[in-house]
């Protein structure tokens, strides 16, 4: 079925920016503060209050536009988007319609080994609405409560071209976009917290046809997984409807996470007429080439560049490079560690393996963890020196993670120094051989696995500290004697 049809997907992403203050007033951004404690006449929509543009919002917008290979507008302007909703203090949103700050860009994803450019139609600045709290669901609650702390938070809206062709490509686009934004440090991009929001537009058409099919919009996507699932569902729904000869309605649908379906949001009311017009309270913004260059100079290495660097300089695989460049914090950690101990592949394994496991388990960010690039480097050096084995290192690492102590201290305090004294190990080997005649026989009879058991016994007797290489060697030597 899917061979007959092609999916055409476009994504609209809203990014909450991490400025100090709101877009058009001096209220601080708040997270989890008491309701309505970060508000002023402006973001309360009180009479006589007027907006004043936050310079940092413009800087972040230019930065983001450049990172997305966009053309930065020389002249841009704010427009009012007029509609009534209880979380909108003035019942209009300050946004940008005709003259957005950036346009005609792209970002690259890698789909099945092939690099593909997804076009970015526009990036524009706008402000967020407040928060509504319902008793239960919005459909059944008898009343709602309005908290305007979030009202006026600066947002960037990033609209892609409909160049995405599959749900998988869609989540790859989101991953790439997210890592770019994280690298720019303009947002913390947490979909679960709402600082990164995504609406999807999807249609299908018979392969080869140029004309686009009827499009539906999907809202309420709270994770990359929801995005993929919702798109899969919706594409299937479109195709089934078309095959049946049914009619597809252009509408907005919401993704129901519990039931894993999209539901129509069509209400009795007519389509919105936003009556956009230029906001008379805000003079236009002129961005000269000098300003653009100043911002361009502040651009950090972006994910794609970092990937290239990791692959070419350190010979890491593209898989590893991808994982290490999903977040700037992870990349910075990795780079700092490599700077102290030049074993990038080993470090990559530890970062993507044990460190990530512990971070996830403890619901922590890498920037908050107690392991530092230096301490990881130090631990790996201990491994190299043979002071600890790989297995012991995992124990040490977990302790480093929990306590922040230096690896040397942990090894010393817990007596974890690897036993590499051959005579000491030989003594244990002899004991184990003597204690397990049947197993020894099995091994001599050809059962390789029996060796593993014996190695295990030696490790156990040495409390894991025996150097496994030496144990293996000595055991084989002893067992090969007649």
């Amino acid at each position: 079925m899917t061979e007959k049809y092609e999916a055409v997907i476009g994504l609209e992403v809203h990014v909450e920016l991490k400025t100090n203050t709101k877009a058009f007033c001096g209220c601080g951004l708040s997270f989890g503060a008491l309701p309505n404690s970060h508000v002023c006449p402006g973001c309360l929509g009180m009479p006589g209050a007027i907006p004043v543009l936050n310079r940092e919002l413009v800087e972040f917008a230019i930065k983001t536009g450049l990172a997305l290979n966009c053309k930065i507008a020389e002249f841009c302007r704010f427009d009012r988007k007029n509609y009534f909703y209880p979380d909108l203090p003035a019942n209009y949103q300050i946004s940008q319609l005709d003259l957005p700050i950036a346009s005609a860009g792209y970002l690259e994803i890698e789909s099945e080994g092939v690099k593909k450019k997804i076009g970015i139609n526009r990036v524009h600045m706008e402000e967020d609405a407040g928060k509504l709290v319902h008793q239960g669901s919005i459909m059944t609650t008898p009343y709602s409560l309005v908290d305007l702390n979030r009202a006026g938070t600066p947002l960037l809206e990033i609209v892609s071209e409909p160049d995405i062709r599959s749900p998988r490509e869609a989540s790859m686009y989101m991953e790439k976009l997210r890592s770019i934004l994280l690298f720019l440090r303009v947002s913390d991009c947490k979909m679960e917290e709402g600082s990164l929001r995504c609406d999807a537009n999807v249609s299908v058409r018979p392969r080869g046809q140029e004309r686009l099919g009827t499009r539906t919009e999907i809202k309420n996507l709270n994770s990359f997984r929801s995005l993929e699932r919702a798109l899969e569902y919706e594409i299937k729904r479109h195709i089934e409807l078309l095959e049946e000869g049914g009619e597809l309605v252009q509408e907005t649908r919401t993704w129901d996470e519990d039931r894993q379906v999209t539901l129509s949001m069509r209400s009795k009311e007519e389509a919105q007429d936003y009556r956009y017009f230029p906001d008379p309270n805000l003079p236009p913004v002129i961005i000269d080439p000098e300003w653009v260059e100043r911002v361009r100079k502040t651009l950090p290495e972006l994910p794609d560049q970092a990937r290239e660097r990791l692959m070419s300089e350190y010979n890491l695989s593209s898989y590893d490079a991808n994982l290490l460049t999903m977040s700037k914090d992870v990349l910075d950690f990795f780079d700092a560690c490599v700077a102290e101990y030049n074993e990038p592949k080993l470090i990559a394994n530890w970062v993507m393996g044990e460190l990530t496991r512990l971070l996830n388990q403890n619901n922590m960010e890498i920037k908050d963890c107690r392991v530092t690039p230096s301490s990881l480097a130090a631990m790996l050096k201990l491994m190299e020196q043979g002071t600890i084995s790989g297995k012991i290192a995992k124990v040490v690492f977990e302790e480093m993670f929990n306590t922040g102590d230096a690896p040397e201290k942990i090894v010393k305090d817990r007596g974890l120094v690897q036993i590499s004294d051959e005579s000491a190990i030989k003594a244990i080997v002899d004991e184990v051989i003597a204690a397990n005649p049947k197993v020894v026989e099995d091994f001599k009879a050809g059962k390789e696995k029996a060796l593993g058991f014996l190695v295990g016994q030696v490790m156990k007797a040495s409390k894991g500290k025996a150097n496994p290489e030496i144990v293996n060697r000595l055991l084989r030597e002893e067992l090969s004697r007649p």
Binding site: T19, N20, T21, C25, G26, C27, G28, L34, P35, N36, S37, H38, V39, C40, P41, L44, V52, L53, N54, R55, E56, L57, V58, R77, F84, Y85, P86, L132, V133, I138, T141, P142, Y143, S144, L145, V146, D147, L148, S267, E269, E270, D273, R275, P278, P280, L282, P283, P284, V285, I286
Partner: protein
């Protein structure tokens, strides 16, 4: 340029104005005559004229990203017609 009642109702809906039935006709008539009056503008050719959205030659009016004073919560809520837990309370949203 006579405005129909349906058009008046449409505009009233957009503007969230619940007009009493007996007033709709009055508004339809008054608005129609005002809109008629606007047609005088059609006599004036304006091709190639740039719209004047801002009367002052001001650009790039921006402020630094520094926090300013917010309202104390009690002042922010003091005029609220209905509030609960420091939030504005509204009936259900359809």
């Amino acid at each position: 340029m006579a405005l129909t009642i349906e058009e008046v109702e449409h505009v009233a809906r957009l503007a969230r104005l619940n007009l009493p039935a007996e007033e709709k006709n009055m508004y339809a008539q008054q608005l129609s005559s005002i809109l008629d009056f606007f047609t005088i503008l059609n006599r004036l050719p304006t091709d190639g004229v740039e719209p004047l959205a801002h009367v002052l030659p001001l650009f790039n009016v921006m402020r630094a990203d520094e926090t300013g004073p917010s309202l104390p919560r009690d002042e922010a809520m003091a005029n609220a017609p209905l509030a609960e837990d420091g939030q504005f309370k509204v009936p259900k949203i359809v």
